[in-house]
Symmetry: C2
Subunit: 261 residues, 2 copies
């Protein structure tokens, strides 16, 4: 026997990856998976993911996975606290505003403690959340992706293979630039792009960047969400803005229609 | 000889890491290193890093490293285009507004192509940028970090060991939450926190979250930068807002003083 049995370690690591991919597929069989992404952070991916999920839940069974493993914000913005229970080794999602929610923010008591970890660990956690959550019957799973074109977005696009990606941008040039990277990433990995949403549109940040990018890249321009104190207030209160503001609800109804969600 | 000489591969990988760490230390000997971080994206880390660097350059020799390896925005916001030259195997930084700038955005012609890569590759590129750039004589190196508490921020805090970290937040709860994670990360890795800057302060996003977080965590509250169309416009035009707007310059002069930069 060698000091470290590398062969057995590799075999079991490989088998574990294969198993978690199989379990993930089995667990999400027949579920429509929609990813919300952008290259840049802070453009409102979580706002879009939450409001889309809550609105879809009016006539569908909807899950929302917070895939920002190290800096998760979904529970805070939905007013969900506490830690998730497990039953028979399966994670029980939280339920609020008609949707089922899983997030690493619901895995420990002190939410100011950082998850300091490298990519492979984030990948592993992502796969566990997908494979080992007891979602119950679902029609749609919305995945709120972290920014960037690295580990977690790559794992989701390569292994989870969503039915479509909604790309979020703000009107500013730098955000539009990163939205293009996001769309080119999805394309190069063979994932369908449902289109671009322009968030925080109007006033301070300008408008039209999202529509221009959609035209340049030949993807659908889904629509815009106006920069709006209602959305900020709703998030601070842990309530989805579609429920608090008829104006925001109207914006998101148009988004669901344009993205054929 | 085995088919794959794992021993030699490990030896050379290890030696390469050791060498790049040594080279990085040698290359930055005597340079004050300041990181700009936040857990959340889109809070204005790059805006703060750029404006701090440009203002510091009025009486110091300043470098700015864009450490957002996969979605770099510094060159776009400074109006720098083209690709960097190398000389004798060393990267020649771009020079603009009195500072020397290195970014992966200046490493290929098409800036809409994504860098799709996992953490270890980002770590490797980061170390190369630090070790193999011909900065010339520098007093200060400002590092614009990507969001999150994972690979690149971890590599910088663990291996580069900056003299201090400026933490950026917006007034909103979710951003403040992630700022706390950023500060707790720096603390747990033994990196000094210079304090918190509140960006996009006032009006739409509210105000006071940064100051409250500073009090709760017992760190310096450095000051705020008002949410301001001038900053957005300056970024779109590739000009630092401290040069375009006396009001913004005033905000940043207070920041340099309060952070003892």
């Amino acid at each position: 026997m060698p000091l470290v049995d590398t062969e057995q370690l590799m075999e079991s690591t490989y088998r574990q990856m294969e198993l978690s991919t199989e379990r993930m597929r089995e667990n999400l069989k027949g579920v429509r998976i929609v990813g919300v992404h952008s290259g840049k952070g802070g453009v409102g991916k979580t706002t879009v993911a939450i409001n889309v999920a809550v609105l879809l839940a009016k006539n569908k069974r909807v899950g929302l996975l917070d895939a920002d493993i190290d800096c998760p914000n979904v529970p805070k913005m939905l007013g969900i606290t506490g830690t998730l229970a497990t039953e028979n080794g399966l994670i029980q999602p939280a339920e609020k505003h008609g949707i089922k929610v899983v997030s690493t923010a619901l895995m420990r008591a002190d939410d100011t403690k950082p998850f300091i970890m490298r990519g492979p660990m984030k990948h592993h956690i992502l796969m566990q959340l997908l494979a080992r959550t007891n979602w119950g019957p679902l029609d749609v799973l919305v995945i709120d992706l972290p920014p960037g074109t690295s580990d977690v977005p790559l794992s989701v696009m390569q292994l989870v293979r969503p039915d479509g990606i909604v790309c979020v941008t703000t009107p500013q040039d730098v955000a539009v630039l990163d939205a293009k990277k996001s769309i080119n990433m999805a394309r190069s990995l063979g994932v369908r792009v449902l289109g671009i949403v322009e968030n925080m549109s109007g006033d301070v940040f300008g408008a039209g960047g999202g529509e221009r990018a959609a035209r340049e890249l030949g993807v659908t321009y889904i629509g815009s969400v106006a920069l709006n104190g209602d959305i900020v207030k709703a998030s601070e209160n842990g309530a989805p803005a579609v429920e608090a503001s008829p104006k925001v609800r109207n914006d998101f109804e148009r988004i669901l229609e344009a993205a054929a969600l």
